[in-house]
Symmetry: D2
Subunit: 456 residues, 4 copies
């Protein structure tokens, strides 16, 4: 099928006029005819997202998001579709656009459109397409967003730059990524952030569940689907031992890889040691690595000098939040030949014939797998405006049913002994930032652990 | 793309006349034009099969398989292609056919044909196509096989039935699967096995590396690609704790699943206990399982009664050697609705709306991932006719370079102390059958641990 | 040897007059003659405590603790001895007493006394002995403490009650345990905490290294030394999935036990699920448990009703911070017979002959193993008064040498990109409380992450 | 207490006349008065040995070992005591002696004597004591053994040398260790083995359960009890990746150690790779190791040259079957100082002050922990004379109750499909030698998988 994809030389979606079965034409996607298949994908995803489905049931009658006009810019996957349709079920109006030119699942986009939500996105957009889609998502006849749900900050940036007048209506920005939070923080420092912003990334649920547990699974999945590599016995170098790095290392070790870690932070380095990983400098192990995975959130972690010293066949990929970790610029030089061997897989060929296998052109490897639970959080705040700590515990409890887990309950006596309420919150107020590995800083205008409904 | 596959209503490959670039027309595959893409897949696979590539280098000049005319019936994957082309490099002439109607990688088949080897196989053959292909692989103008490489016994069966006269030329049968070995054994008991047969399945390398280690990786990969399921916290029931079951359990446990085991054999059951798995009867845990995986080699392990009691959304699949483990017949009844949601994924819908997710229609889940190293073994015997134990050690040593592993060497004194040669074999003669979980029995006519070149 | 211990019917240390080799008589321990043996134990411990040894080297000349008069009340083990002697090396004068009537290593106490530090402690003190020793440690001719290092709050309590006049000289209290912190917090709420107090328990190093990693090792060690139990295949119930519970579960699972978890907190419960543990109520699994381990920090978690339903031979022990988790009072009834089978091991025998194996009478199982790294922290602040976050990172970096770990360094450019200094701190200011599972609350008078030298 | 042991300068047990409570004086042990304490230890051990206790119940009436006169030479531990007393319960008469001068548990020996079985053993025998005890165990008034149960071959050797006339009465030798089996094999090759000998070491149960699973637990226990070392982050070198090495590596890795493996056998080396361990030569990693553990069964694996290059504080111990793996002779030179710091722990001090920590003087580290299940096997054959394969499965099934494991049963149809009986044996006849890593060879006179009752 891959060859089919490659040979598809179709016209751009921007040149096509399509309508969904109810006549809606306000969207731009690959092919509305794929909606049925996309719907099945969404149904599969729903089985894995009980908390959102639960929320729909509990909150549908109240329509707590009634009046919300959400413009969203995220990866467009089956999981996102479940989020979007939950927002709609809760009363919101939505328009959506992709935050990444490659990650859109075309059939899913079709299903969302068929369900009535305008989407502007397809797999394989050009840079120009990307901004055109963002622009289209913001501008609609007789519709102006009052809520932004962003992943990476591009949508927010566009609105600040092109539609500053819209900002006064915006009642909140929910930002997903470290990069986006950092951009907000700089706006804030410059005194330009006039809108309440919520940092999803620092939430407990995001840190603990999305990063650690999702990455544990998605690193294996991402590598297998792209390269079919066997993990057993391979030497893997993981750069960074925050939650993402911990998840990657744990999974790879479990499947028999020999894992090395690089770190700049002594606490994380010591954790890596205690977890059984050798902590070394990149230059010390680069020659022997079969795979190199970046998870630092930093830039230029793997540079040309390292790539020059890697052995033939070494796989290089990025699980961090930005696409800056691998110095790609240094690889676009005349002596190196690029050969695309599969979708998302490039061989970069050195003059002596050495091949480095670069995945997703250095973009985030786990596009489809690790974006879900953080969204869950945003939603949750919907029904929990007041006590934010409690929100986290509520999200967690919504998921326990999936695992048929049975919580114990404190007796009156025990609750008194601990000095807390029988029904929680069980964590102290400063727990919020637990275990975070990021370097972002809170600010009066950036609230964490909150969600859409804090703005309504 | 999946919808593209589904909508492809093309004519049968049997109706098409194709030629490769050198004019060869003696083959039947989906589309010779995909050869370039298939070649890239084969090149990727070669990176993971250093032992075969090594053998090519070492043995190319000697052409030890010169004179061998091999007809092969296996899964047709990039890995098989590396095997076939190694056989050719060693001097053999080959014709190939698929042992499974679904597992053929069309582009790989095209690349092999472009390389000059007749292949008769495509993804999605009908039952009639299947036997037609087998027939075509055996019959060629002025070419008669003297060697069979079979996986499952269908090719051998066909030759016995349709071309008994060919048998006198056959100098050896290499059989891969337990099922095929069992069929050979029955032939042998009936006095009808007049050809030396080699049982690859019982070899140390097959048991230890192919089954245990490959399944450890392929169970995760197979489940993820088909269902995107998250493993963490899921309750999984694994039927059978032989090498395949051990591999599955180990991987699932490592990724945070709660794993239960069923077993009939007390030794395997005790191993499961000591490895940290609860050993229970199927009926005791069936209601709580999120996934059920069969690895017994037995039949009707999961029957309608169990399927009726599974919970909504339960995933059912088979990693065992046969496709008999799940009683599929019982699911083809009028009250149950089947819905194909993705390739290889069916939802079976009960009257009350409950959905069971059946993968690969109960066939082997890990078609593409676990077939490699056993082939490696067959080849190895090529260069090692005499001492079979040694062969296993030789195969192992060929792979050590991949892992940059450095073997220690015995001193003269130490070798003397142990009473063995400095260069091995290191295992006693009875090691052959180590750890096997199968129920097949040796016979004077079925030699194990051997390969093609034992016949030359 | 155990029988030797039992048969020792010696006079009380309080009745003996002993002197060390320099004539010092101001101490009360079991037997000063064991000093040589204790010295060897301390030397062994020093090898495992490189950070403290390092500090001695670095800070010896400066004597930063010069003027400090420390009275300490902790477990008296070889590790504590390394701490005490480091304090002395840094310039402090110390007197020491045990915080637990059973945990004193007599030979170690002798070695410390021989080294010149007055110690008042022996294994097997009575309740009366315990308070007598505390009193003796506080009161000395011409010596008044200006610093308290406490574990559990008994020493602090005694000073508040008996020697309130001393408080005005006290420049700081370092408290180790949750219980002690809670008592300080209540003093503080009542407006009676007139001394700066430092909560070691909430520090990152304590939470991450002492609790998680130490418990991972000490749970196995504690169970083996007392019962020789085999872990493989055993069903173990762990109550509480904070850091201590996580460490216990991880170790037991790794050695093949089937582990169940009870939790009241949904976030911790969800983590347990994702880590592969069934979360159930105590009453659901109590009948099948081979071992029950409490790690909640709560009281009456395991009560008579549970104990009545346990199976014969079930092992019950406590890894939590208090000794209240198992309802011991309910076991001291006439129908139950207690039989001491080894030191720290009691069989409690039901009328029908059922035996429950109770370890350490419900006190903390890992007395000797898990108390070290938290002390390391206290010391560290010695050299780092200013920036507390940094202290944690400094402690971590001191330990990296042990593991021959090589930290990477940020380039100027990377540091700028992250908005942090090249040399750290790498964690945001709110990181302090990471991952804590405790229910204590900060207060203006209780500073965390600090150590002795903050007071000088 | 350790100092108490050291200071005990008592008279030799050989000089003492003792009697048990029934007047028996035919024994020589440390102190009969310790019997009560030893009895409690045996009761604790019984809880962990359900199969033997089960056998007592099932077979007691039949007295299948009636007429057997067993002289045994093994480690004398609580577990051995359970074995001995089971033999007696089954009708045998026994006399026992220690196979190791250090491993005897004195109180257990006392309890066994109090129970009526003559024992000649104590902890800390001299070489002369050792042979004197063996001699005493063989020679008794009006009692001549007809059965030998040996571990290491010393008893057998003594009888061959001193009492050849006894041999004609001996109906069987059960040998436990590789070393002993090798000695028997050499006797056999020389035509001097006139007695049926049973090799317990090669049995499935011994290999799989005793070696792999027991070592997984005992390596941790052995290291902790002697050195209190923390495993997390430590670099450990394991020499040999047979079942013992696999168990050690698995446990150490699970607790966070970085493990390296040396191997001579490519199959084992490849397994180590696939399990995630770097396979290197000893000389490549010796400088960085914190611990070195030998598990090869070979001699002079760690020699002076390696010891010279180890770093300060490196722990060296042996888990293999012989005490030859570490070249101890090379350490008894004048420039090295030995210092005993604890029982079983010597510091060997180099002229520059470097200390190497040698455990158990290079003898087997896990004396008390890993000797049990192999004995279980010997006993089992008691009730299963005919089919040896079945015996293994029977032993396994006896243990399943401990784990509350529920075996599935084959239907008639399934049994027929597999071609086996519904009740087993489930393994093919050649399964016997599964997974063995030893280098011993079978011989017409050495039967494996058999036990005492095969001789009656």
């Amino acid at each position: 099928w891959a060859s089919l994809i490659f040979s598809e030389e179709e016209s751009s979606p921007r040149d096509k006029l399509q309508r969904n079965s109810k006549g809606l034409a306000d969207f731009c996607i690959k092919n509305i005819d794929q909606a049925d298949f996309g719907r099945r994908e969404i149904e599969v995803a729903q089985q894995e997202m009980p908390a959102l489905m639960n929320l729909r049931k509990r909150a549908e009658e109240e329509k707590p998001l009634s009046g919300a006009k959400v413009v969203g810019c995220t990866h467009i996957t089956a999981q996102t579709a479940v989020l979007i349709e939950t927002l709609v079920a809760l009363g919101a109006q939505c328009r959506w656009v992709a935050c990444n030119i490659f990650s859109t699942q075309n059939a899913v986009a079709a299903a969302v459109v068929e369900g009535g939500v305008p989407v502007f996105a397809w797999k394989g957009e050009s840079e120009d397409d990307f901004w055109w889609c963002i622009d289209r998502s913001v501008c609609a006849d007789a519709w102006q967003p009052n809520m932004i749900l962003d992943d990476g900050g591009d949508l927010t940036h566009w609105i600040y730059k092109k539609y500053p007048s819209l900002l006064k209506r915006i009642r909140g920005i929910v930002e997903e990524s470290v990069t986006g939070v950092f951009r907000l923080y700089q706006l804030s420092k410059a005194g330009k952030l006039c809108v309440p912003a919520m940092n999803v990334n620092d939430s407990v649920t995001k840190q603990k569940f999305d990063n650690l547990y999702c990455c544990r699974e998605s690193i294996l999945d991402g590598l297998k689907r792209t390269t079919d590599v066997m993990f057993g016995g391979k030497q893997v170098l993981v750069c960074g031992y925050g939650e993402v790095g911990k998840g990657c290392c744990s999974a790879l070790k479990a499947l028999g890889a020999v894992v090395y870690v690089t770190e700049v932070d002594p606490i994380c380095a010591l954790q890596a040691c205690m977890d059984g990983f050798r902590v070394l400098k990149l230059s010390e192990v680069i020659r022997q690595a079969d795979m190199v995975i970046t998870c630092t959130g930093n830039k230029n972690v793997v540079v040309r000098e390292h790539l020059d010293r890697m052995k033939n066949g070494c796989i290089v990929c990025n699980m961090g939040h930005s696409n800056t970790e691998i110095d790609l610029v240094s690889l676009h030089t005349s002596e190196l030949k690029w050969e695309r061997v599969r979708p998302q897989v490039d061989h970069i060929i050195w003059p002596d014939g050495k091949r480095i296998v670069l995945l997703a052109e250095g973009r985030l490897l786990n596009l489809s797998c690790s974006t879900v639970p953080s969204f869950v959080l945003s939603i949750t705040a919907t029904t929990q405006v007041g006590e934010r700590r409690w929100a986290n515990e509520y999200v967690a409890s919504l998921h326990l049913a999936t695992f048929d887990a049975h919580l114990s309950e404190l007796s009156d006596d025990q609750a008194k002994y601990l000095g807390i309420s029988k029904n929680g919150p069980f964590k102290p107020s400063y727990y919020r930032s637990a275990n975070t590995h990021t370097h972002t800083h809170t600010h009066t205008h950036t609230h964490t652990n909150a969600g859409l409904s804090n703005c309504f």
